[in-house]
């Protein structure tokens, strides 16, 4: 055919893809919703296309359609998916099975969940290769070991003998990339491969993925909500929203000269002006030399930690997972009584254990969590959820309670119409807003925010941060803001504590902590945050190599 000759370099050609799903809303008849509206895209051999957008934009759904796969009840109802010159949607189940794991491979967001805990890594890595009969077991294992080396995994010869739980998250993500590359596919779908990783780990995995793509000439669909990340690996970027195409162009054009307003919003997100407040004279809450441990003192997670929080100000606690950030929050709230040291609040010592604290102390310290949907009772309405602290702490009931709930809803920029809704009927951002209202209802002096924006899309997170800053102005509430995201820290903090392995390694006002000279860990943390700039990754990696050579 003339057509196929003209498209000789073309690997994937998706035309007018339409994807639908049937949803079953409670109390209503099932209805069909359209997730992807007539999206078309093409991908040349060896090129990388970034798919970007907030959750619900249809990124993963489009990515998986290149394997003819629909998650849950998702169905491809229209359009063509032409891979290597044939429409895979017409090949039937057998045809799809032959291409999955052979022509197209998939790298999932959480490798920790995507590896089968019951089998050794090597068995899983070579499984697809053996299934499709493209190599013998010995060849496949040799190939896998070579890939482990290429992805700079430790002990490449023996890491395949391990089980998934014996390997760290960042390493697993690299093993998963090796698994995808092992069958020597034409296309790999990377579905948020670094989103679940710490910022310091993300940079290594990102570099490993980029090198592997370059050296194996495999094409890739790279799905993420982080524009700065995709700018490092993609040749072209496609911006999606609500299952529709917003903008599609070269990487440089998208991040430097976005043509659509939505793209512009994505590019300029996170730039919140926040003037740092100077610490007052007396701290409201003081953590003094707190040491805490799990397992009856066996695992020390906090070592001699001291920080102060001043009234109406924000202390940000930054660090990677396992650094003890959330444990600090648990020690302050009394959920994990410290082994040594104590917590002072408003000039008095707080009881170490939760049970030792009077109701008044409980009221003054409130918490907001990362996962808003599991922090609310799914069988209670928004009105009940927000009204509960009013009843519990102040004994406000009936009409007065409803009035107060309506005021609170107003404060979090949600209308009165939400009062009878259930959490399941809210979006992620709305759920987090309800949690904020619930904590405000207690009129606390301090709110501990534990990664409250980590599970949200950048634009939604941006809105939540702005709301929190506004509320701080009005209510004069102080925040202890736990996060691993340095961009968030810059836009919200007055002072910063950097934690590493249970210790505070750097502490002071924001301007002081974020100004050189840096200690080694803070430097690593700061230099690992992806910047929206082509070539940042190479620079950052090169900077690190020089440093380690210098050491």
């Amino acid at each position: 055919m003339a057509d196929s000759k003209a498209n000789a370099g073309r690997l994937l050609d998706i035309r007018n893809l339409r994807i639908e799903a049937t949803v079953y809303p409670p109390g209503e008849a099932p209805k069909t919703i359209t997730l992807v509206h007539d999206v078309s895209l093409t991908l040349e051999k060896g090129k990388v296309l970034g798919l970007i957008g907030e959750s619900g934009a249809g990124k993963s759904t489009i990515g998986l359609s290149s394997m003819g796969y629909g998650r849950g009840g998702v169905r491809i109802t229209g359009g063509e998916v032409i891979l290597n010159g044939r429409d895979i949607l017409k090949g039937g189940k057998e045809g799809l099975r032959k291409l999955r794991g052979r022509e197209v491979c998939y790298v999932a967001q959480s490798a920790a969940a995507a590896f089968n805990p019951a089998h050794r890594l090597m068995d899983q890595v070579v499984e697809a290769t053996l299934l499709h009969g493209t190599a013998t077991r010995a060849e496949a294992e040799k190939r896998a070991v070579a890939l482990f080396k290429k992805l700079s995994l430790p002990n490449p010869e023996t890491i395949g003998e391990r089980f998934p739980h014996q390997v760290s998250g960042g390493q697993l993500q690299r093993v998963m990339t090796a698994m995808a590359l092992c069958s020597e596919p034409d296309l790999i779908v990377f579905d948020e491969p670094t989103t679940a990783l710490d910022v310091t780990t993300q940079i290594d995995v990102l570099a490993a993925i980029k090198d592997a793509i370059r050296d194996t000439h495999v094409a890739a669909l790279y799905i993420t909500h982080d524009l700065a990340v995709v700018a490092q690996v993609a040749d072209e970027i496609m911006v999606l929203r609500h299952g529709r195409l917003v903008e599609w162009g070269g990487t440089r054009q998208i991040i430097k000269e976005p043509r659509q307003e939505y793209t512009n919003a994505l590019v300029s997100v996170h730039e919140i002006e926040h003037n740092e407040q100077q610490p007052g004279t007396t701290p409201m809450l003081s953590v003094k030399n707190v040491t805490a441990a799990y397992g009856g003192g066996l695992v020390k997670v906090l070592k001699n930690v001291s920080v102060d929080i001043y009234p109406g100000q924000t202390l940000a606690v930054v660090g990677e997972s396992g650094s003890g950030k959330s444990t600090l929050a648990r020690a302050i709230t009394g959920l994990l009584p410290p082994e040594q040291g104590s917590v002072f609040f408003d000039g008095r010592t707080l009881g170490n254990r939760l049970a030792d604290r009077p109701k008044e102390d409980l009221r003054q310290l409130q918490m907001i969590y990362q996962m808003a949907d599991v922090a609310m009772n799914p069988r209670q309405t928004v009105g009940t959820i927000i009204g509960r602290p009013l009843e519990f702490y102040f004994g406000i009931r009936g009409r007065e309670r409803d009035k107060r709930v309506a005021e609170l809803l107003d404060q979090i920029e949600m209308g009165k119409g939400f009062i009878d809704r259930y959490p399941a009927e809210l979006s992620g951002g709305q759920k987090q807003r309800v949690c904020i209202a619930r904590s405000l209802a207690a009129k606390p002096k301090l709110i501990i925010c534990d990664e409250v924006t980590s599970a949200l899309d950048p634009l939604v997170a941006h809105g939540i941060l702005k709301l929190l800053l506004n509320l701080q102005q009005i209510e004069k509430v102080a925040y202890l803001f736990i996060t691993h995201d340095l961009a968030t820290v810059k836009s919200i903090a007055d002072s910063i504590a950097v934690m590493y392995r249970g210790e505070v390694v750097r502490y002071g006002s924001k301007s002081k902590v974020l100004a050189p000279p840096f200690d080694a860990y803070t430097d690593l943390l700061l230099s690992s945050v992806p910047e929206m700039e082509i070539g940042w990754l190479e620079k950052a990696i090169a900077g690190r190599r020089m440093e380690s050579a210098g050491n």
């Binding site: 099975r97 491979c105 998939y106 969940a113 995507a114 805990p117 019951a118 499984e127 697809a128």
Partner: protein
């Protein structure tokens, strides 16, 4: 084998032994609370107080309860279960053969029922929510819902009376060949299989469906594995712990709960023996049989626990 597994297994075994001791106290205490004692039972209503006192002295019944308990326990530990009042026979000797018969029946019922239940469970998951799944679930549920005596008599009616393929009465005796024995127990084994099948099948189905939601199942599907290979290779190994638990519970039922089936088929096993002696109020026999049933139950549950520990790669291969 690595140390955490050994430690956990040792803990389970120790707990099991402790539990068995506690059960033995309960069984002994339970039979003490009953009105009357062995002496009264032997001599009957017309006994004079003098003869009762004499017999109690003779049997050691006038000693305090805890001494009698340790006496009984000591006997059990050395293999002496006492003598049956009704027949004067040594309990250990009469139980030995019957226990063997019961285990033989349970073993063959299990050999058929467990693989069948798991296979049906896997098939039900493969065709979940389709007609195959619904049919398997429906038939299995129906067979469990019928009382076992009803199934037993149905089997007797078709296979023994109408067609005369198998005997209606499962008598076994010394000198029977394995084939003859198997033919004799075919009907009671079939009845037991039908009773325990659905429970195991449904648990297998539910446990596997639970892990079918996991990301690693999706990974396997995206490697191009066939639907059945995904279930067998990737879902089943992670669903094994709850399945083993239910299998062991049902195995225990096969040993302990066969009373009705054994009576229907007049099979000379533990159940029949227990029923006979309960009607005769033969307390030492009831105590001995109760203790053996408890031991079987506890042992199988320990095996289930240990199997679940060994099946967990996190415990088998610590970091």
């Amino acid at each position: 084998m690595s140390s955490p597994v050994v430690k956990l297994v040792a803990q389970r075994v120790a707990l099991g032994i402790l539990l068995l001791l506690a059960v033995s106290v309960l069984i002994f205490a339970g039979t003490q609370i009953l009105p009357g004692d062995v002496a009264q039972a032997i001599l009957g209503q017309s006994a004079t107080p003098e003869s009762l006192a004499n017999l109690r002295e003779q049997l050691g019944l006038n000693q305090p309860a805890y001494i009698r308990y340790f006496h009984w326990l000591g006997g059990v530990l050395t293999g002496d279960l006492g003598t049956a009042m009704s027949s004067g026979q040594d309990i250990a000797t009469s139980i030995k053969e019957r226990l063997w018969n019961t285990l033989f029946l349970a073993f063959w019922a299990a050999i058929v029922a467990i693989p069948l239940a798991i296979t049906l469970g896997l098939i039900a998951v493969r065709y979940r929510n389709g007609w195959v799944d619904k049919m398997i679930s429906g038939v299995a549920l129906a067979s469990t819902s019928f009382p076992e005596f009803f199934i037993g008599y149905l089997l007797v009616f078709y296979f023994a009376v109408e067609h005369q393929w198998f005997p209606a009465i499962s008598t076994v005796y010394d000198g029977m060949s394995l084939g003859e024995r198997l033919q004799a127990i075919a009907l009671p084994a079939a009845a037991l299989t039908l009773v325990v099948l659905a429970h195991m099948m449904r648990m297998t189905r539910a446990a596997i469906l639970n892990v079918m939601q996991s990301a690693y199942v999706e990974t396997a599907e995206l490697k191009g594995l066939s639907a059945f290979a995904v279930i067998r290779k990737h879902a089943f190994p992670n669903a094994i712990a709850p399945i083993i638990n239910v299998v062991m519970l049902n195995l225990a039922y096969l040993v302990v709960g066969v009373v009705v089936v054994e009576v229907i088929f007049v099979y000379p096993g533990m159940g029949q023996y227990l029923v006979d002696h309960v009607t005769k109020r033969d307390v030492p026999v009831v105590q001995a049989v109760g203790l053996i049933f408890a031991a079987v139950y506890i042992a199988l549950n320990i095996i289930a626990d240990i199997a679940a520990i060994v099946a967990n790669p996190r415990l088998r291969h610590p970091k």
